[in-house]
């Protein structure tokens, strides 16, 4: 199919939104969308509201060749038009072919990118049973896996996860060539910033701060020692066209704000602290 970026909605009046009017959730959308930049013709598998909005934004703008699902068994265009069939059996097999970039959630994630959505505490008798490993083990050693954490805290960004579902860099290295071969964690996006593993030992690095967030805030909400450069850039600003896509076409109902409330809104301030 043709891979020309779509025309943005004609929404001139709303384009008066200055950068200062950009919400935290919108920076998160941009940071998630950027995960799929340059991926080409692969399946984008986002879990969570903001990653889903980000994937659709990427598909509508700078990564027009991406494939999206309807969350069930259909491959759909950004307007919902079906273009293919992807039942679970094909989805699980497609993972091992590698033409996919998933963004999973993480109840815990550690400095080398080991992820846990299975349980908290001792696996044999967990203090808190969560979902289970789901597809983390197969995803991480077959196709790029990024992560999304809507509430960054020291209980999520932990020294050591309780149950490794998603394989991190140290675990992949210890497991050998079969685990390393297709293993890659492009980025971790949280409500505070963007993180990657572009360090010598593949430990987590603060790649960018969402505007309004300080390094101290991120460090205080992270239980392990993050790699932090002297100068940390800010997550990029959305363009006017991107804001129009997000606000008027992809998420007019404002699901993004429910996942990440804006810290400047007085209503949400109490909930955040």
């Amino acid at each position: 199919m043709s891979a020309t970026p779509s025309t943005p909605p004609d929404a001139a009046p709303s384009l008066s939104a200055s950068p200062s009017g950009v919400t935290r959730a919108e920076y998160c959308v941009i940071a998630c969308a950027e995960a799929w930049r340059g991926d080409g013709e692969v399946l984008a598998s986002p879990m969570g509201s903001i990653p889903s909005i980000g994937a659709r934004l990427a598909r509508l703008t700078f990564s027009p060749d991406l494939l999206l699902t309807d969350g069930e068994a259909l491959l759909v265009g950004p307007d919902g038009t079906p273009e293919g069939w992807l039942p679970y059996r094909q989805h699980l097999a497609l993972v091992t072919g590698g033409r996919r970039h998933v963004m999973m959630g993480a109840s815990q994630i550690d400095r080398y990118g080991n992820q846990n959505i299975s349980c908290v505490g001792d696996w044999a008798r967990p203090a808190r049973q969560l979902l289970g490993v789901r597809g983390g083990p197969v995803n991480t050693v077959n196709n790029p896996v990024s992560y999304w954490v809507p509430r960054h805290s020291a209980r999520v960004f932990v020294e050591k996860v309780d149950m490794i579902g998603g394989v991190g860099y140290d675990s992949a290295a210890a497991a050998g060539p079969t685990a390393i071969r297709f293993h890659r964690i492009p980025r971790v996006v949280s409500n505070l910033g963007v993180f990657d593993f572009a360090t010598e030992d593949h430990s987590m690095r603060l790649a960018s701060l969402h505007p309004g967030v300080t390094v101290e805030e991120v460090v205080a909400a992270t239980a392990f020692a993050l790699a932090v450069a002297d100068e940390v850039p800010y997550t990029r600003e959305p363009s006017a066209a991107e804001l129009a896509w997000i606000r008027e076409v992809i998420d007019p109902a404002g699901l993004r704000d429910r996942e990440v409330p804006d810290p400047r809104s007085p209503r949400d301030r109490g909930a955040e602290s």
Binding site: Y88, S118, L131, R134
Partner: protein
């Protein structure tokens, strides 16, 4: 062609305690709940259950029927955490073989193909290996063309089933099963991996009826894998069974919030007809 129709109670009467039971569907989608409810009415227990888990796992665990569970997750989809599964795990009352979604699929595939295992690039490097010390690896007899390396893979053991329970949209009396929703899930694979399989359906129709309005690729399950056919309208309730019925979200919320003994007493004390009546009465009360 033999007539394999039977009631849900007859189907579960053929199961023995201690059996290894596969349950089709996925999460809170097209689960054979009428068969699970029949199982709850029976005395069958000490089960090893193999499932992409949903409320089937929750109910059987709450009723104390599961000795061991093989699953990559248990979820109600719109409610992420299955409450009774959680309770069972947190009380340590459930033996669990926790494997990845893809490992699970290849384990069923191995069983269906009468292989002892299939090699997968999954599990390696994760704690799935730590919590399943019985999992073995296998080294490729071939050098990789690109790397020259003989890679080592996880050998997922065959998930062989004594019996499988699945729910589909239509079936004929001989056991040919048809799905009409967007996803077949793994129901055919569960039946192929099992010694005996019981298929419930929204409606039993004549064989010729199956392909009158639907293409032949909707014929998911072949009768040679099927031992019994059960007509069970709304047999997936409260899970979804597109396009016949969606998930009963309100009732699922009730299930997830009500203490199990109360739920079981109000909705599961009688037969399937009594269940449907009790559900309707509850919905009436909500108006």
């Amino acid at each position: 062609m033999g007539d394999k129709t039977m009631t849900a109670d007859e189907a579960v009467s053929r199961l023995e305690s201690g059996t290894t039971l596969g349950i089709g569907g996925w999460g809170s989608r097209r689960k054979p709940m009428a068969l699970v409810r029949a199982l709850l009415r029976s005395s069958v227990t000490d089960l090893t259950v193999v499932s992409y888990g949903g409320p089937d796992i929750g109910m059987l665990a709450a009723a104390g029927r599961i000795r061991k569970l093989v699953a990559p997750f248990a979820t109600l989809d719109s409610i992420p955490l299955e409450p009774h599964y959680r309770a069972a795990r947190e009380s340590g009352s459930l033996e669990l073989m926790e494997i990845d979604e893809a490992m699970f699929m290849w384990g069923l595939r191995a069983a269906a193909n009468r292989l002892p295992f299939l090699p997968v690039r999954a599990g390696i490097g994760s704690d799935v290996m730590r919590v399943n010390p019985g999992l073995r690896t296998v080294t490729s007899p071939y050098e990789d063309e690109a790397t020259g390396v003989r890679e080592t893979f996880v050998a997922v053991p065959a998930l062989r089933l004594d019996a499988a329970l699945v729910h589909v949209n239509r079936a004929d009396r001989a056991g040919n099963g048809q799905y009409l929703g967007p996803d077949p899930y793994f129901d055919d694979l569960f039946c192929e991996a099992a010694t005996t399989a019981y298929v419930s359906c929204e409606r039993i129709v004549d064989t010729a009826e199956l392909t009158k309005a639907s293409p032949p690729q909707t014929l998911l399950i072949k009768r040679l894998h099927v031992s019994g056919v059960v007509e069970a309208p709304s047999g997936a309730h409260f899970t979804s069974c597109a396009p016949d019925h969606g998930r009963d979200e309100a009732f699922q919320r009730l299930y997830a919030s009500m203490p199990w003994p109360e739920f079981a007493e109000r909705f599961l004390a009688g037969d399937e007809q009594a269940y449907r009546t009790a559900v309707e009465a509850w919905h009436e009360e909500q108006r």
